[in-house]
């Protein structure tokens, strides 16, 4: 710890000795206040400097930047919609797989698993959270891509004649929205699981035992008591996962195909905002750099909105629990 303590005397003695001074207390308070405000300062600095740097792109392209459907910097086309599309689509795919998985794991840990199994299960999920993004990417690139290509094309062939499905599940080269979404699902499962577990743990024990006492099965108790009570909190958890998914960079960059396209083919190639920033930032000329920093700003705004929403939902649960307790 960085604290300076007088070298002599026991802690109790030193407490009595100088405890009366108001000056040091004010100084310490100021130091902590400055430290606390640093979060605000840094966040403000990030938002302001990036917006300033992005401004040339915003003002130069205006609506064609925000609503343009083509991102081809070499031809001067800076429409960000394909990248927004890729980011949103990949994140949604990730949620579709991660949410049921996370809720299942949370229920398993909180309601089903024998007590001595809980800690190992939680450890496994924590380890999943600890694996760096680039390792997921490396592994997926070498060990999953060829398999993805085979499986996706198999599915595409199977649904080839069925309308809608044949659009959603078209031919694949392996790298795709779906590949990135599946890897992201694994990566965001831990955070959704841990928040969901906390939310489930707030369900009043009386309600749960009451339901069981009335003869409900465990599943009926979960459906009838745990789920209704936790809706808001789980929504918060899902949004936290969404925020995480939207910002993931390297793992997605390696397996999405690097093609900014608005395509409904989930097995087709695409591109996300963070991946595009990651690929192009240092090589960009003034205008493209500004457009990329603009992507950073939009990503910042989107993730902030999602996180604000998530926190609100979680806080609402907290309040309700504390209100009724």
């Amino acid at each position: 710890m960085t604290v300076t303590a007088p070298a002599d005397g026991s802690p109790a003695a030193s407490l009595l000795e100088e405890g009366a001074g108001a000056g040091p207390d004010r100084a310490f308070r100021t130091v902590t206040l400055v430290a606390g405000t640093m979060v605000l300062v840094i966040l403000l600095l990030i938002a302001v400097t990036m917006t300033v740097r992005a401004w040339p792109a915003f003002s130069e392209f205006g609506t064609s930047y925000f609503f343009g459907t083509e991102w081809v910097p070499s031809e001067g086309k800076y429409g960000i919609l394909p990248l927004v599309w890729g980011t949103v689509l990949v994140s949604l795919i990730a949620l579709v797989f991660a949410v049921p998985m996370s809720v299942g794991i949370a229920l398993f840990v909180n309601e089903l698993a024998p007590r001595r199994l809980r800690r190992p299960v939680v450890t496994v999920v924590d380890i999943l959270a600890a694996v760096p993004s680039v390792v997921f990417g490396l592994w997926a690139f070498y060990n999953l891509l060829p398999g993805f290509q085979t499986v996706f094309n198999g599915i595409a062939d199977a649904v080839a004649g069925i309308p809608v499905l044949n659009t959603l599940f078209g031919p694949s080269t392996g790298s795709s929205f779906m590949s990135a979404g599946l890897i992201l699902a694994l990566m965001i499962t831990p955070i959704i699981t841990s928040v969901t577990r906390e939310v489930f743990a707030t369900v009043p024990e009386n309600d749960k035992s009451g339901a069981l006492a009335l003869g409900a099965t465990r599943w009926e108790m979960v459906r009838g008591v745990v789920f209704p009570h936790s809706m808001g909190g789980v929504t918060g958890a899902v949004m936290l996962g969404l925020g995480r998914a939207m910002g993931e960079t390297v793992a997605v960059a390696l397996i999405i195909g690097a093609r900014p396209e608005i395509s409904l083919n989930l097995f087709g190639v695409g591109e996300t905002m963070p991946a595009q920033i990651f690929r192009q930032l240092s090589e960009a000329g003034a205008l493209l750099r500004s457009a990329l920093i603009g992507l950073g700003v939009i990503l910042l705004v989107l993730t902030v909105l999602v996180n604000v929403g998530a926190r609100r939902a979680v806080v609402a649960v907290d309040r309700r629990v504390k209100g009724t307790a």
Binding site: V72, S74, A258, R259, V269, E271, Q280
Partner: protein
Amino acid sequence: MKRLRPMTVLVATVAALALFAAACGGSGDDSSKDTTTTAAAAADAPTDADIKALTATAAGGGASFPDAFYQAVNSDFNGVAGKELVTYAKSGSSDGRKQLADQTLQFAGSDSLPKPEETFKGGEILFFPTVAAPITVSYNLDGVKDLQLSPDTLAGIMSTEIKVWNDPKVAADNPDATLPSTPIVVVHRSDGSGTTNNFTKYLVAAAPNTWKLGSGDTVAWPTGTQGAEKNSGVAQLIKQTSGAVGYVDLADSQKAGLSVAAIKDQAGDYVKPTADGVKAALENSEVAENLTYNPLNAKGEGAYPITAPTWIITYAKYTDAALVSTLQTYLRYVLTTGQDQAQKVGYVAIPESLQTKALAQVDKITAG
């Protein structure tokens, strides 16, 4: 580093003196072994002592096309120096030039020339040709080893007009092969790339009727194609994707163990990307005043038509004298001793006449 300036200037002076002495010594030896022209180049080769005397580090980066060559040369150069004097981080030609322009790098590797609108913070720039190599058309297709492609077929494939491997046009180029009906996956560079520039320039020149996407460090690839970063990324992705085809330097293509196609030259022969094919292409291209040249779609017999040049780009002036001597010594090393490493990793040394011109240009880098 800035605090050490007087010191570095002193060391640089010593280094310069040492260089001068070495040059004198070299010229004295000339008479004994000037029967070969490489001996003349060897006179310019920095001695181990020259390299050890250097103090400033030089950070370079850019083109991934010559990366395997630069990594080999740098490993030797830094090995002699006993410290990491020169680094080269591949990031694409556009990236290298941009970082040189922003002065976040001290020299750049590029396979393409800057566009007129590219401006460089540090003023005038110099081009040093280093090696040349074939851009291969590499592919991943089970059971097909010796693919042959005419420029028109190649352009059709790359612009996704030809969608499957057993298309009649591909079959016409390959009368002896059994082609599967696998869909073609075109893999291209997603970053700004001199390889893309040279490859598309070749298509513009050789297949003007089929290739409509123009040329440049990046082009607007059609829907359904797939991007990857740097030559190595393209090679890796081709390896991981069945039915894939793309344009890659030979070193990266062979590291990934890919098959390479033979390309039809202007005389109508299918030419593999051989060392001799590249040499023939180099002999048939003209070098401009600033040492830029274009060996693409060269005419000579046996010339591999997609032969690409590559340059190290430096500023003519740097503020730091120690940096200048590092760059000068390094460039001399690349253009003499380093040339021997080229063929080992899939490149071809530049012709001796060009080496001489480039060596003469090294002195144009000055401090001030």
